[in-house]
C-alpha cells in the first residue's frame, strides 16, 4: 500500500502538471480538493480517467468518484479493493 | 449602422439538403437529417446521433470535379459546394464581380484529415498533401481558389459563433468602404476529434434533441456549410441585382464567465441581442421571430431562455431552434441558421422546434411546434460559443 500511495502521488503530480511539487509535499491524508492541495472539478475528471486507464476502475456516478478521490489514502484503499489492472 | 447591408445570394449544404431548395423542402416537411454516424469509424457510433451529410468524401470530390491529387479536406469540400451556390445565386460571374471579399469561418478546418493521417503522414508520402490542411486558412484558400475570389479573404474561428462573426466582419468591411461585395459564412465537417471532445464534456445526447424542453439531455453534432453574399447599395444597383433581404443589425459580446459554460443569467447573450437591436435602431417589439441557438444542452437553453426573457421583457416573440433538423454544425451553425432565417422571411413561415414535449420549469416559454405561416418583417438569429463568445444577427425583408 505504501508503494501504491507513492505511485499515486507521482502520477497525480504528472497528470495534473503540479510543477514544483514532489511526492513528499503530499501527505496521505491531505484533502486533495478545496482547501488542502486545492484541486478542482476539472482535475477530478482527469483523475477519474487516470484510475480507469491505469487501474481499470470505473465509477458509476460522480458522487462515488468524489468520495474516493478525497485523499491519497482513500484512493489507495479503493484501488487495492477494486483494481482490475 | 447607417445603411442596411443587402444580401444578394445564399448557398447551403447540410444534413437536410445539398442546396437551398432541398433544405427548404426538408424544413417544410419536418424531415430531419439526424442518424447514426456512417462515414467515420468511431466507438461512439451506437451511442450518439449526428446530422451527417450522407455523401462520402469521394462523392463530394466528384460533385466538385476535383482531380485525384487534390488536398481539400471534407470541411473545404462542403464549404466549396455551398459557396459555389451562393455565388451563382447572387449572379456573380465576371472577373470584376469576383473582386470580392471572402470571410470564412471554421473550427474543424482540416482536422478530419489530420486525425486520419496523423502518424501515416510520416510513413506514406501520398497523404502528405494534407499536412497543411491542418491550417484553417488553407481550407479557406482552397475554397477561394476554386470560386476564384480575388479580394481580401480571411478566416474566423470563435467556436459556435464563428459564422455569425464572419457575417459581422464582412458587413463592417462594406460599411467602412473597404469592400463592395463579400461572401461570408462558415463550414465544419464531422470528425472524431470533435465527436470525442464533446463526449468528454458529457453534453451529447443519445437521442433526438429537444431544445428548450424540460427533459433535454444535450446536443447532436452536425456538419455543413452555408454562405451569404453581402453587398453595398452601390454594388447591387450597378449590377442590377435585387436583394433577397437585408442585414439590419448585428453584435458580438463575451460572457466572460467560464471556458465552456454560459453564465446562468446569459449575460453575454443578453448583451449581444441588445447591442444588435440598438445598432439597427430596432425595437424588441419589432422582432417577429427568433431562430434560437437552442442546442438542447441544459446549460445553453437555460442561459439563452433567461437572456431572451430579459431582452424582450417577458413578451418573447415566436421562436424555435432548427438544430433538431441539422444537428449543431459548430462554426457553420450561424450561417446555416442565417439561411433558414432568410427562408423564413422570404416565405413568411416559421420552421418548428422539433421533438419538444414539455416546457422548461424555469420559465413560461414554448417554441413554435408546427410549420406556421406568419407575416413577418424582422428575424433575430442567435449563436453562442465556447469561450463565452455570443453573437446576434438581425435580418429584414426587402
Amino acid at each position: 500500500m505504501i508503494n501504491l500511495k507513492f505511485e499515486l502521488k507521482t502520477k497525480l503530480i504528472a497528470a495534473l502538471n503540479l510543477e514544483g511539487m514532489t511526492p513528499d509535499d503530499i501527505n496521505d491524508s491531505d484533502s486533495l480538493f478545496g482547501d488542502g492541495i486545492g484541486l478542482d472539478s476539472i482535475d477530478a475528471l482527469e483523475l477519474i480517467v487516470m484510475l480507469d486507464k491505469d487501474y481499470g476502475i470505473k465509477f458509476t456516478n460522480t458522487e462515488e468518484g468524489q468520495s474516493v478521490l478525497k485523499s491519497i489514502s482513500s484512493m489507495a484503499e479503493y484501488i487495492t479493493s477494486n483494481r482490475t489492472k | 449602422m447607417n445603411n442596411r447591408i443587402a444580401i444578394t445570394g445564399m448557398g447551403i449544404v447540410s444534413a437536410i439538403g445539398m442546396n437551398v431548395e432541398e433544405n427548404y423542402g426538408s424544413l417544410m416537411q419536418k424531415k430531419h437529417g439526424i442518424s447514426r454516424v456512417e462515414f467515420i469509424k468511431t466507438k461512439l457510433k451506437s451511442s450518439i446521433l449526428v446530422g451527417e451529410i450522407k455523401k462520402s468524401n469521394q462523392e463530394l470530390s466528384h460533385i466538385l470535379g476535383l482531380d485525384k491529387g487534390h488536398n481539400f479536406s471534407r470541411t473545404a469540400m462542403l464549404g466549396t459546394i455551398a459557396a459555389k451556390e451562393a455565388v451563382k445565386d447572387a449572379g456573380l460571374s465576371t472577373e470584376s464581380d469576383m473582386d470580392c471579399g471572402f470571410i470564412n469561418a471554421t473550427s474543424v478546418g482540416g482536422m478530419d484529415m489530420t486525425e486520419r493521417y496523423f502518424y501515416d503522414f510520416v510513413e506514406n508520402p501520398e497523404y502528405r498533401r494534407f499536412v497543411e490542411t491542418q491550417c484553417t486558412g488553407v481550407n479557406t484558400q482552397n475554397i477561394s481558389d476554386y470560386i476564384k475570389i480575388s479580394g481580401l479573404s480571411t478566416t474566423i474561428s470563435t467556436a459556435c459563433s464563428s459564422a455569425a462573426n464572419a457575417v459581422i466582419f464582412g458587413a463592417r468591411l462594406i460599411e467602412t468602404g473597404r469592400l463592395q461585395r463579400v461572401i461570408v459564412g462558415g463550414t465544419d465537417a464531422l470528425c472524431k476529434f470533435t465527436m470525442n471532445g464533446f463526449n468528454t464534456l458529457m453534453i451529447l445526447s443519445d437521442n433526438y434533441i429537444s431544445p428548450f424542453d424540460n427533459n433535454r439531455k444535450g446536443l447532436n453534432l452536425g456538419e455543413g456549410a452555408a454562405y451569404l453574399v453581402l453587398e453595398s447599395k452601390d454594388s447591387y444597383i450597378e449590377r442590377g441585382k435585387e436583394p433577397l433581404a437585408f442585414l439590419s443589425g448585428y453584435a458580438n459580446s463575451n460572457d466572460a464567465f467560464h471556458q465552456t459554460a454560459s453564465s446562468e443569467d446569459g449575460a453575454g447573450a443578453f448583451l449581444a441581442m441588445k447591442k444588435a437591436l440598438k445598432l439597427g435602431h430596432i425595437d424588441s417589439k419589432d422582432i417577429d421571430y427568433i431562430n434560437a441557438h437552442g442546442t438542447a444542452t441544459p446549460n445553453n437553453d437555460l442561459s439563452e431562455g433567461r437572456a431572451i426573457s430579459r431582452v424582450f421583457n417577458n413578451e418573447v416573440p415566436k421562436f424555435s431552434s432548427t438544430k433538431p433538423y441539422t444537428g449543431h454544425t459548430l462554426a457553420a451553425a450561424a450561417s446555416i441558421e442565417a439561411v433558414f432565417s432568410l427562408l423564413a422571411l422570404k416565405n413568411q413561415v416559421i420552421f418548428p422546434n422539433l421533438n419538444f414535449k414539455e416546457k422548461m420549469s424555469e420559465f413560461n416559454l414554448t417554441p413554435v411546434l408546427e410549420v406556421e405561416k406568419v407575416k413577418m418583417n424582422t428575424v433575430l438569429s442567435n449563436s453562442f460559443g465556447f469561450g463565452g463568445n455570443c453573437s446576434a444577427l438581425i435580418f429584414n425583408k426587402s
Binding site: 495534473l16 514544483g20 476539472i42 475528471l45 482527469e46 480517467v49 480507469d52 486507464k53 | 468511431t42 466507438k43 461512439l44 471572402f102 473550427s107 478546418g109 486525425e115 496523423f118 510520416v122 502528405r128 499536412v131 497543411e132 491542418q134 491550417c135 484553417t136 486558412g137 488553407v138 484558400q141 477561394s144 481558389d145 475570389i149 480575388s150 479580394g151 481580401l152 479573404s153 480571411t154 478566416t155 474566423i156 474561428s157 470563435t158 467556436a159 462573426n165 466582419f169 468591411l173 460599411e175 472524431k192 476529434f193 470525442n196 471532445g197 468528454t200 464534456l201 458580438n252 459580446s253 463575451n254 466572460a256 467560464h258 471556458q259 465552456t260 465556447f386 469561450g387 463565452g388 463568445n389
Partner: protein, 353 residues
C-alpha cells in the same frame, strides 16, 4: 470623422528577450537551429499556479504579453479583444489527438479539447479581465495578425471602440513541427546550416511567439506610433507584389520615397525569398530591415515586426542586426510587408507621432 489609432502599449514574447522593455540589447544567437523556442518570462508573476499548470505556451505567453501591453497603456478595462493565430492551440490539439489515436477513443479528458479551440487565448484574456466586449479570433495562416489589427483599426477609426487589445500568438508542438519538416515547409536538423543561413535551402526556421498591442483613439505619453492602414490578399492574382505595395502606399496619400523604413518578412526559404528581391528596388533609399533570422518564422510573426517598428519609433534607433540596407533619413513612416509561400501578401503602415 475617422479617428486616429495609436499604439499605446506593447507586450512581446519571442525567441529574443523582448518582454523587459529593452530593444535587442543582447542578441541571442540561435545558431541556425531549425526550431527556436521563446525566451520565457517568469509566468508565476502574472498567472496563479493553479491556472498556469493547465496552460499551453501560447496561452501563457498571450496572457503575459497582453498584461504587459495593458499595464503600459495604463488601462484596466478594454472595449474589445481581437487575436490572430496561424495554427491555434497546437499543443492541446496534439495532446488530445494523440490520446484519441493511441487509446482508440478511450481515456480522454475534456481539458485539452477545450483548450484546443482557436479562440482560447482571447477567451482566457476576457475571463481574466472580465471583459464582456467584442471578442474575435482570426485563424488565417500568415495574415492572421494583420486581420486582427485591421479589425481593431476599423473599430477605433469608426469610434466603435476607444481601447482595443490586439494580438498575434503561435506556439510550437513537436509532431506538427516534424510533419512540416517532412514536407519541407520547415527546415530540419538535416538541413545544412550554411545553406540555411544563406537562404539556399527549402523551408524556414520554425519559431513561435506572441505580440500584443493596446490600440486607442487617444494619444498618450506612452504612444509609440499610429496605425495608418492594414491590408492583405490571399492571392495576388492580378498584380505583382510591387504593384500591390505601390497601390497601398498611394491609397494612403503617400509616395514611395516617403516610406522611410520597410520591414521585410524574408525567412531564408530558397523557394520564396526571391519575392522580396523586387521590392528592394522599389525602396532604394529607405532603410530595409529583416528580422526572422533572429525570431524564426511563424504565422503571426508580423506581430513581432510591429513590436520592432514600435521600438524603432520610440528609440529612434535600429539595431544593426536588423539592417539589410541602410537608409539615410529619420524615420517617420514604417511599412511592414510579408508573404508566406506566395500567399497572404500583407501590409501594415505605421507612422510616427
Amino acid at each position: 470623422m475617422i479617428k486616429n489609432c495609436y499604439i499605446n502599449g506593447v507586450g512581446c514574447i519571442s525567441a529574443q528577450k523582448t518582454y523587459d522593455g529593452t530593444f535587442l540589447n543582447e542578441i541571442i544567437d540561435h545558431d541556425n537551429e531549425p526550431v527556436v523556442n521563446v525566451v520565457k518570462p517568469e509566468y508565476h508573476k502574472y498567472i496563479s499556479p493553479s491556472s498556469v499548470r493547465r496552460m499551453s505556451s501560447g496561452v501563457k505567453n498571450g496572457i503575459v504579453a497582453s498584461t504587459l501591453a495593458m499595464d503600459e497603456a495604463n488601462i484596466e478595462q478594454i472595449d474589445a479583444i481581437i487575436t490572430g493565430t496561424g495554427l491555434g492551440c497546437l499543443q492541446d490539439s496534439e495532446k488530445f489527438l494523440k490520446c484519441l489515436i493511441e487509446h482508440d477513443e478511450e481515456y480522454l479528458t475534456p481539458t485539452p479539447f477545450i483548450q484546443s479551440t482557436h479562440n482560447t487565448v482571447a477567451g482566457q484574456i476576457a475571463l481574466m479581465h472580465k471583459c464582456k466586449g467584442y471578442n474575435f479570433t482570426y485563424v488565417n495562416t500568415s495574415s492572421s495578425f494583420n486581420a486582427a489589427l485591421l479589425d481593431g483599426l476599423m473599430q477605433i477609426q469608426t469610434n466603435e471602440a476607444k481601447s482595443v487589445l490586439v494580438g498575434g500568438v503561435d506556439e510550437i508542438a513537436p509532431h506538427t513541427t516534424s510533419l512540416f519538416q517532412i514536407i519541407e515547409h520547415y527546415k530540419s536538423s538535416t538541413t545544412n546550416k550554411n545553406d540555411s543561413q544563406n537562404g539556399q535551402s527549402k523551408g524556414h526556421v520554425c519559431g513561435e511567439g506572441c505580440a500584443f498591442f493596446v490600440i486607442e483613439s487617444e494619444k498618450k505619453e506612452s504612444s509609440y506610433c499610429e496605425v495608418v492602414d492594414v491590408h492583405f490578399l490571399n492571392r495576388l492574382s492580378h498584380k505583382a507584389p510591387n504593384e500591390f505595395i505601390v497601390d497601398f502606399i498611394r491609397k494612403n496619400q503617400l509616395e514611395l520615397d516617403a516610406v522611410d523604413a520597410v520591414i521585410l518578412g524574408c525567412n531564408n526559404d530558397v523557394s520564396f525569398d526571391h519575392i522580396y528581391d523586387g521590392i528592394q528596388h522599389l525602396f532604394s533609399t529607405s532603410h530595409l530591415l529583416t528580422y526572422k533570422h533572429l525570431f524564426g518564422e511563424f504565422m503571426t510573426s508580423t506581430g513581432v515586426a510591429t513590436w520592432m517598428a514600435c521600438q524603432i519609433f520610440k528609440t529612434s534607433s535600429i539595431p544593426k542586426e536588423l539592417v539589410l540596407q541602410e537608409g539615410h533619413r529619420p524615420i517617420k513612416n514604417i511599412l511592414i510587408y510579408n508573404q508566406y509561400r506566395d500567399r497572404d501578401h500583407s501590409l501594415i503602415l505605421l507612422k510616427n507621432v
